[in-house]
């Protein structure tokens, strides 16, 4: 399909404007939203992921592709919602209380978005109360916490405890990450997963969802 290839390329090249335009044209000539997603957009993002793994793409290419994907999705999302299709898996993400490092967290967020998840980014220095509130109000499937300081790592545990106290711990899967975090620590504090880097984080989320 010609159109599909154009959208595919626009995303691969991180061209948001083009992606938007191509999608608009495709919809006008009657393409189905789900087809565009599954035949052009998802394969494009898969290829982006592959190129990144192969060290052919760096983060900038990745983020630009994600941005292009997003601009196409802006057109598709209302149509999908209207047609009642359950689409999006929601992820709440933030850097824990006391910690202002956000680069790693941002990359994880962007890659999750790039993979089609709905990401709610709470920013940095996020208190346990703020995480709890976000879970209660936004009903995400996944909560991601990032910490780069050894002295803020304990806030991950505090946050999990707060989710328990609020009675919402079982409603979400909790993932943690950041340089000082280890798998063992994740086990210790009762998180559902940990990964060393952003691409593994995407895999982790996908795996967890098959279990949700």
């Amino acid at each position: 399909m010609a159109q599909s290839k154009e959208l595919y390329d626009a995303i691969l090249n991180g061209d948001a404007k083009k992606a938007h335009a191509v999608t608009q044209t495709a919809l006008a000539v009657g393409a189905l939203p789900m087809d565009l997603i599954s035949e052009s957009m998802v394969p494009a993002m898969d290829e982006v992921g592959r190129l990144f793994e192969a060290e052919e793409y760096f983060v900038p290419e990745l983020l630009l592709a994600g941005r292009a994907m997003k601009s196409a999705m802006e057109l598709l999302r209302p149509l999908l919602v209207a047609s009642g299709q359950k689409l999006s898996v929601r992820v709440v993400i933030g850097t824990v209380k006391g910690d202002l490092h956000d680069i790693g967290k941002n990359i994880v967020a962007s890659m999750l978005e790039g993979s089609g998840f709905e990401v709610i980014d709470l920013g940095t220095d996020v208190s346990p109360e703020m995480f709890v509130a976000a879970v209660e109000e936004r009903r995400p499937h996944i909560v991601c916490m990032s910490a780069l300081l050894t002295v803020t790592m304990p806030a991950m545990k505090t946050t999990i405890d707060a989710l328990k106290t609020a009675g919402v711990r079982t409603a979400v899967k909790v993932l943690i990450g950041g340089a000082p975090v280890t798998m063992q620590y994740a086990k210790e504090i009762g998180a559902d997963g940990y990964s060393e880097n952003a691409s593994a984080a995407v895999g982790l989320v996908k795996n967890l969802l098959t279990v949700v």
């Binding site: 983060v59 900038p60 006391g98 680069i103 990359i107 962007s110 920013g123 002295v151 790592m153």
Partner: protein, 463 residues
């Protein structure tokens, strides 16, 4: 909007790379308890931090006990290995800056250890204290006003009063723009952050720090670090998230903002994690601290040996107080630093030895990574010369970037440096971008307004 005119440093304090050696700098610095830095010997600078734990009133006694233990063990090792001198760095953790009394208390504890050790063993030593730059707590961050700045200022004051011999900081002005620009590989944004915003903040902040030091006789304004800019890029390149050539060029450009601290009165030693140190040393002649393989406890790097080539202090960046088989990690890294310094000093004690050793350290890493290539004595002089030849920070950043690109391209041409096709594309892209900048920083500011304008507070930069 005025471009600020730079008065100082239109020439190099060390004009030739043959004089750019480790252990010696034109303006040696005597500080603390009889420690003279840059007068012939390299000394260990040891930096240490807490293991994973909470900092709160209930755990505070444990926190103090950790620092107490670390200082005792570090100094025990230093004495046992007969080091000729040592610098301790205390990098405050955020809660210790939030609550300035806490940072001051640890400062007191550490200084007490140094004094006792100096009295008993006559060990020349000093204490560097580095409060956390906590000004980025709101978006956009306020740099010159507001609660965080007030606390940071008080932290600097209380630490100075509590016994700091050197004050340093890793300031973050401009980072709010740089972070995003870096991640999107947007070279314009990076130049704006490093050439317009950051130097303005550094200049302002260091007049404050200089004044605080002036009020506390004996306390030295040390230096700043482009850590949040260039080391972030290095970490990202290390994780294959950014091209190495981009990280290398960012490193060179970051020297301009750190130089601004010296223009306002900093006299060294610059911060260990400031790999822009050699450029600073070539320009200002003040001693610098560096870290490389010795900092493998804190981060990996492609700069293990070359980083030592021109240092006056040799550091481990940071290590947690965890137990290894030998003892605690801070003591273990003290041993490492002590021997590395001893080897450098032994070579330097021989005619021509420092130059020989420096060249080997350089040769060891120079062409294995673009990030190492821009750290060689040759590259240092080229970048430093380009900086002093330009007139404003904005122009200096572009000049430094250009010099770094030349260093890399020359290396490639001479078939010394080998990079991937992908890295090549990026290098060309950076080269092109550098040619396309407007002559006037005001024009750039306007151009980037829609993209970055909401990220930073103009008043915080006198804009």
């Amino acid at each position: 909007m005025n471009e600020r005119t730079i008065r100082e440093y239109s020439t190099l304090a060390i004009p030739s790379q043959d004089q750019l050696l480790y252990g010696v700098s034109p303006h040696p610095l005597t500080c603390g308890l009889g420690l003279t830095i840059g007068a012939g010997q390299v000394f260990p600078e040891i930096n240490f931090t807490l293991p994973a734990m909470n900092i709160e009133p209930e755990t505070w006694p444990d926190v103090v006990a950790h620092y107490d233990e670390m200082a005792a063990q570090i100094l025990r090792r230093a004495v046992s290995l007969s080091v000729p001198g040592i610098l301790l760095e205390f990098e405050l953790l955020p809660p210790m800056t939030e609550c300035p009394e806490w940072g001051a208390e640890i400062t007191t504890v550490l200084k007490r250890h140094l004094i006792a050790c100096h009295e008993k063993h006559h060990l020349p030593c000093a204490l560097r204290v580095t409060p956390t730059d906590i000004r980025d707590q709101q978006k956009p961050p306020l740099m010159r006003t507001g609660e965080p700045w007030q606390r940071l200022k008080r932290s600097l004051e209380l630490c100075a009063a509590a016994g700091a011999d050197i004050l340093s900081i890793e300031s973050i002005g401009g980072k709010e723009v740089n972070d995003q620009a870096l991640m999107y590989g947007d070279f314009q944004g990076i130049v704006f952050a490093l050439g317009v915003l950051a130097p303005r903040d550094v200049s302002w902040l260091w007049t404050e720090i200089r004044d605080i030091c002036a009020e506390h006789p004996g306390v030295v304004p040390g230096g700043d670090s482009a850590c949040g800019f260039a080391n972030t890029a290095m970490q990202l390149a290390h994780q294959k998230m950014l091209p190495e050539v981009l990280a290398a060029v960012v490193r060179a450009m970051s020297a301009v903002r750190s130089l601004a601290a010296f223009e306002q009165g900093a006299i060294g030693p610059s911060k260990d994690c400031a790999y822009e140190g050699p450029v600073i040393k070539a320009i200002t002649g003040y001693p610098i601290s560096m870290e490389g393989k010795s900092a493998s406890c804190a981060h990996f790097s492609p700069l293990g040996n070359i980083a030592a080539a021109m240092c006056d202090l040799w550091s481990n960046e940071s290590v947690q107080n965890v137990r290894l088989l030998s003892g605690n990690a801070p003591e273990a890294y003290t041993e490492l630093l002590a021997y590395d310094c001893r080897l450098m000093n032994t070579a330097a004690a021989n005619q021509g030895g420092a130059l020989q050793m420096r060249n080997w350290m350089t040769e060891s890493d120079e062409w294995l990574s673009p990030q190492a290539a821009v750290l060689s004595p040759d590259a240092t002089i080229r970048i430093a010369a380009a900086i002093v030849a330009a007139d404003t920070p904005y122009h200096r950043v572009i000049a430094a970037g250009n010099a770094a690109v030349r260093v890399l391209k020359d290396g490639i041409e001479r078939q010394k440096l080998h990079i991937t096709r992908k890295e090549h594309q990026w290098l060309t892209r950076i080269d092109d971008a550098l040619r396309a900048f407007p002559a006037d920083e005001g024009a750039l500011l306007l151009e980037l307004e829609s993209q970055y304008g909401s990220l930073y507070d103009k008043a915080s930069y006198g804009l």
